[in-house]
């Protein structure tokens, strides 16, 4: 059972192709990451899923059916462009959005105060939106997306601009939603978040899918060819080295990707000869690295 299925979806804005033959499916109850650099077509794709725009060709099925506005009541959407009515009281705003999602006013009021308690902003229920901090406004939008207990939750950059404590708070809520069997779509370019939460991903660039599938399987495809090295001394020799395919300096440590067939032990000896090694770890490539590699390759 799939919550959403895209089949060869295409969207042009005039000459510009925003989404180009994109196909993917999201299994019910899973967390899916829609990844890509800025302008890759993530938001355009989401807008087609919820009927803000229609695809030029291809089909989109939601809950196993062709798109129908009725199913919007079962979808919760947190857009990247955050916005609320500035002069409106927070509670009124939540009730208003709840009602638009088909809830009864009393029900929406009840749920809104429950959620605010959960996200530690109850004391602001009667404040106007313009009096709230950015982080709080973001929490309200988050609540607005979940208030009507949707089956399918779409989060476009949900953690942007939140401090770690609040990010964690929202992340836990989302994990709880997952346990309840809700389907979640993340659209982001924050790879660390995706790595923690997602079951499967689709990486798109310039409207085209470039990498897709189960997250573990995708990472396995890239093998354990990465080494993180912490050392004191001059590390420039790593940059031009036959054993190393790519080199990434993070300041406190470097991460290198081994050339095909290279022996990590040989690299360790080489590093030990020239500097004091504090750490040497063989690992899977991070999603971020895969991202940079894949996107860099398609750009070239």
């Amino acid at each position: 059972m799939y919550t959403i299925e895209l089949e060869k979806v295409r969207k042009n804005y005039g000459e510009f192709v925003a989404v180009d033959d994109l196909s993917f499916r999201i299994a019910q109850g899973s967390v899916f990451g829609l990844l890509g650099p800025n302008g890759a077509g993530k938001t355009s794709t989401i807008r087609m899923m919820i009927g803000i725009t229609a695809p030029d060709s291809g089909t989109i099925k939601v809950f196993g059916q062709p798109f129908d506005r009725k199913c919007l009541e079962k979808i919760g959407y947190l857009p990247e462009e955050r916005g609320l009515y500035k002069k409106m009281k927070m509670l009124d705003q939540l009730i208003f959005l709840g009602e638009l999602h088909g809830m009864a006013a009393a029900d929406a009021r009840q749920k809104a105060s429950e959620w605010c308690q959960r996200l530690e902003i109850s004391e602001k229920l009667l404040s106007k939106v313009e009096e709230l901090s950015k982080g709080m406004q973001q929490k309200i939008q988050f609540i607005a997306a979940l208030l009507h207990d949707p089956e399918f939750i779409i989060m476009d950059e949900p953690f942007a601009g939140l401090d770690p404590v609040n990010s964690d708070l929202l992340k836990n809520v989302l994990l709880e939603m997952k346990k309840k069997g809700k389907t979640i779509l993340f659209s982001t370019h924050r790879m660390d978040q995706v790595e923690k939460l997602c079951d499967s991903i689709c990486l798109i660039n310039k409207g085209k899918p470039v990498l897709a599938g189960d997250l573990k399987e995708v990472k396995a495809r890239y093998g354990k060819g990465n080494v993180q090295i912490g050392y004191d001394g001059d590390g420039t020799f790593l940059e031009h080295n036959t054993l190393v395919r790519s080199f990434n300096d993070y300041g406190n440590y470097v991460e290198v990707r081994l050339a095909p067939g290279a022996d990590p032990q040989q690299l360790l000896r080489m590093v030990a000869e020239r500097s004091r090694v504090s750490r040497f770890e063989l690992m899977e490539p991070s999603l971020e690295e895969i991202f940079i590699e894949v996107v860099g390759k398609t750009d070239a």
Partner: protein
């Protein structure tokens, strides 16, 4: 429908609750009262104090007649409420108690003395109705209140009447005959449909024009702002994930329009009811403001308001900032200004082709068709067609706005060119 209602309700409640709404609602009638009623009151009451006048005339008989007429002026207000005055009497000023002395010494020396007395404010005025002055048809009136135009014209009227009486009396007519001869006759134009007096009709139509013009000017901006608000607050993406652009448009327009109508209703209750009651009490309005005309007023007003609000919404959907919106608001008002301009022509000949087309073209129809309904009886099919065309336009405009809006929203930041706009309209 439900979503449109929810959106309209939010729009309405949020706006009615603001301080600016309450302040405007109370302040505007106070302001209107201030600028219309007070100056009139001051003008008509201004000369209300007791006055001491002297009439200088060669013949005592003439002077006495003028004195009688002037005395009648100050007596007039005493019994005014009991007799319904003619419409033209309503604007006549109140004249306080007049003390009028007669002086038959027409010498230059006496003239200098009296003038000096006026200068020293021992007298309020001297009328020199000497033989020469009467022959020249130019009587001088020395007074410090040269600018009391209304009062002075009353004096002139009295002087004229006195002189007419004097003349008729010298030809041997009796007082009754003179009264009869001088009684004014009014000319009452009436159209064949029996809709009554054109002065009042013009007044009704003109107030319609003003009310429509002012409300569109006031609330059109609000509609634009409401649409712009969605863009600047970036909330529309959430909104569009629950409601159609057309539902949203319709909801916003209805909500803001309802706020405008509420405010107007309150103003009408504050300002119009007392004055309408007064006018009805005086028997002025009777037969002019028929129920039928009032019903037409409501219909055409609401249609006009809806049409122009929707037009403003379209502007709001096209632009990205209030500055741009304000520039374009003028364009929205142009058809109404055109309607006001052809109004004069239509009043003169309500049956002309210009009147017909003006009353069918949706943007001028609210004013012109109402004018025609008030002045003549246009064929029913024309009225129906005019209303139908306006309704279709409102519907079409909402649809068009929704399209411009939806695509415009998704590409904000960039000012649309006309070809782009056309493309937006065609977008699915």
């Amino acid at each position: 429908m439900r979503k449109t209602f929810i959106i309209a309700r939010r729009e309405y409640l949020e706006r009615v609750r603001t301080k600016s709404f309450v302040v405007m609602t109370l302040l505007i009638p106070a302001f209107m009262f201030g600028i219309t009623v007070l100056p009139t009151m001051m003008m008509t009451r201004g000369g209300g104090g007791a006055k001491h006048l002297v009439i200088v005339a060669s013949e005592a008989r003439t002077a006495e007649l003028i004195r009688q007429q002037l005395n009648q002026l100050s007596q007039r207000q005493g019994n005014e409420p009991s007799t319904a005055p003619a419409m033209s009497d309503r604007n006549r000023p109140r004249i306080g108690v007049l003390t009028v002395d007669v002086d038959t010494n027409t010498s230059e020396a006496e003239r200098a003395v009296l003038t000096e007395k006026v200068k020293l404010k021992q007298l309020d005025g001297v009328i020199f109705a000497t033989q020469d002055a009467l022959a020249a048809k130019k009587v001088s009136f020395i007074t410090n209140d040269v600018s009391s135009v209304l009062t002075n014209s009353e004096f002139q009227r009295s002087l004229n009447e006195a002189l007419h009486r004097d003349l008729l009396k010298s030809r041997g007519m009796s007082d009754q005959e003179i009264d009869k001869a001088l009684e004014p006759v009014s000319l009452d134009p009436e159209n064949p449909a029996g809709m009554g007096n054109p002065e009042a009709l013009f007044f009704t139509v003109f107030s319609m024009v003003m009310i429509l013009y002012i409300t569109v000017l006031l609330y059109g901006v609000n509609v634009m702002r409401a649409i712009l608000e969605e863009k600047t607050s970036r909330i529309m993406e959430v909104m569009l994930s629950t409601a159609r652009a057309s539902e949203m448009m319709a909801g916003k327009i209805l909500g803001v329009a309802a706020v405008g109508l509420t405010q107007i209703a309150i103003w009408a209750a504050i300002v119009l009811l007392p004055s309408a009651g007064m006018a009805a009490g005086l028997g002025v309005v009777k037969g002019i403001l028929s129920v039928k005309l009032l019903a037409y007023f409501m219909v055409f007003y609401l249609l006009g308001f809806a049409l122009y609000s929707t037009l403003c919404a379209a502007v709001g959907a096209m632009v990205n900032s209030e500055q741009e919106a304000q520039q374009l608001q003028f364009v929205v008002m142009l058809p109404m200004i055109a309607a006001v301009m052809i109004m004069v022509g239509v009043i003169n000949s309500p049956g002309s082709p210009m009147a017909l087309w003006g009353s069918l073209f949706p943007l001028t129809a609210p004013l012109i068709m109402f004018l025609r309904v008030a002045l003549q009886s246009p064929p029913p099919w024309q009225i129906v067609l005019s209303i139908a065309l306006m309704l279709v336009s409102v519907y079409g405009l909402v649809w068009l706005c929704a399209r411009i809006y939806r695509v415009g929203i998704l590409m904000y930041g960039k000012k649309p060119t006309l070809p782009e706009l056309m493309k937006w309209i065609r977008y699915a």
